[in-house]
Amino acid sequence: MLSIHQNNTTQVAALDARAEALGLKRGMGLAEARAMHPSIAVAEADRQGERRLLEGLADWCDRYTPLVALDGEDGLFLDVTGCTSLFGGEKAMLNGMLARFFEQGFEVRAGLASTAGAAWAAARFFGRLVAAPGQEREVLAPLPPQALRLESPLCTGLDSVGLRSVADIMTAPRAPLARRFGRTLLMRLDQALGRIDEAVSPRLPVASLSVERQLAEPVVLTEDVERLAQMLAEALRRDLERRGEGARRLGLSLFRVDGAVSRIAVSTSLPLRDPGKIHNLFREKLAAIADDFDAGYGFDLVRLAAFATAPFDMRQTDLAGEASTAQDDLALFADRVRARLGAGAMMRPVPVESHLPERAVALRPFTGEARPPASGRGRPLVPAARVVPSHMPARPIRLFGQPEPVEVPATEMPEGPPLRFRWRRAVHKVVRAEGPERIASEWWHGAADTPTRDYYRVEDSEGRRYWLFRQGLHEAGQPSPHWFLHGLFA
């Protein structure tokens, strides 16, 4: 028996069959229950754990339909429209599903109907029922108003006016009902009877295309999974070709025998439909997660889904049969690196309009080479010896992510570059220096009130060139400034 603290009282949240036999009920106070039967075993309910379990079950139910939604704290909605024939009809599907749940140790009630409301009522009040289309009225009629998914205050209100079953509500005139109990009641009734549509919002995004393979014998080896991915990709290619599209985002769902589901997602820079390339991407991804990849007792269902697709521009192959160009190769290479090492592994620098050195160049994920701009506005791609005007202050060729603090003896003169400084525990003697270049904080970017920096290019006695800055100024009442090393020059 599980207890939960709710509304300032500790109530019974769930109980097993034996406790039910003792006459205990859900929602009764724990003190009352203990008074009746002092020997009951009570444990605190773990709402988050239950939620995780429910989501795990929802994952498992993905094998029946991609449209799985959570329903409250203890239910799942499965939209099996069009899926039942794959499992031998509605009745067989429901029985099979319940049997598999039972094997896993769950006691599950299920109902199948044409509307979500009727299925909900069938599951909660009958346990195992398949309602034929048009039968909703007969199924619902004898049930209490709770079967319409109504709040308990509303049910109490209905009870107080003598509407004790759904049949009573169905026969009552609609206008007074709406006036007295609000629109929710009639909306729920109409939804259950199929008069208005109800959308079940799926928990996970639904793939536009997916192919799957049920396996009689579970696979364990990573190589087998890779091979399956290629076989599925070949099946997916036919669908993609029919639609004239290529996949941009692909997901491989691996359903383990014991119910756990692993999902592996890869994204591509260019629309893709070649099974070999898809296979390569998943191979990198599987190699990257090799340590976390737990096949357990094996996978018995593998599904490959294309979550995002884009038009695929067909290109004529040349006589050697080579259609891919150098740019495609580069994009594919970037995809593979990203699949294996994460999205931050391949970056390209992009100049940003900012005079703060750490913001002047932003790193963006590299997704293949940008096509040269068609208009003449773009920067010429042929490198000139010097494109940046020479009057611009020099910038280092290596920049530290975080400026590194350096020690400058306090006896130095307050203005100008230091004569010597200590960086990484080594003393560097400054021989020549240029500067300062004063860079103030970007006050238009909100409240970031960093002190002014004075940058100096200095060269030490061994010829190394550094970029130092002093943060803050020597002013009365201000903290004394600190020195930092921000970059290295060639």
């Binding site: 391949m346 390209r348 042929v382 490198p383 010097r386 494109v387 290596r398 920049l399 010829g463 290295l488």
Partner: protein, 321 residues
Amino acid sequence: MASRAVAREAVFALRREIARIEGTLPQRLEGQAGEAEAAQQGARLRLGIDGFDALLGGGLMRAALTEIHGCETRDAGAVAGFTLALVARLLREVPEPGLVLWAGTVEVFREAGLPHAAGQHALFGLAPERLVLAQVPRLADALWVAEEAIPLQRLAAVVVEARGNPEKLDLTATRRLHRRAQAAGRPVLLLRQAAQPEATAAPVRLVVAPAASGQRSTLAGPLDGSIGRPAFTVSVDKCPAALPGLFTLEWNSDECLFTERAKSQNRAADPVAVVSLSGCRAGPAPAAGQVVAFRRQGAPAAGAEHTPEQHDAGRGPRRAG
């Protein structure tokens, strides 16, 4: 076709024989600059310094792995600068320049700084859109990225950066890089910060150290105390001709070429007398042992051989034996 190959083989065998008689290496023979050289003209990247290029047998091999060492991590600026200068010359020579992939571990980029596109554009003409940075957690990943990237046609050069002497970067790993570079005909530059030279498959190893920069030239002549063109001290540590060489190169970013600085132009880093000239008296009697560096003026000649200040960055007294 086959007969030509046989003839070439005969010429090479004869050349090896002559080299053996002369007691030198075939690569050093004068005749090397003959037809074999002409065939390889496109395969070499000339630095524009005659002595340097001659030492390397006509320039740096394009389709090869080249090691560029820096003795300390703080030399990373010079090492990266020299590498970028090579890349800039490379991009100038090819008709349709491609991208440059720079792969390194997170650790290297944290210790030596991330390549900064703004500075590289200004000094080496490497536009930001030409640079692709691969920042990966482990060296094995960086090597994998490099190996996979080498065959890509759109890349002009692949730069791999590592720090120290990790076990992963052994003869096998470098040979893999070298073979792929040869097969793809693309230069692979292996930057090694704070590394000791060790046996690798790279045919050429250059050790780069910073050198005092030139002065800014103004209309009134060189400006005193200014920091002008960057300079590097490049020593050829390993090359097929097996001849050592030490060059001080200045990078001219306007012309995109190296200029060699004459030995006499090399300014002393610290132009003060190391030892003050003795007066009219004769110097004190020399102490026993070989003097490696002169002791600071005024210090007693004998005694205090192994004082703690001996470790003060080579500035203190040091004595061997």
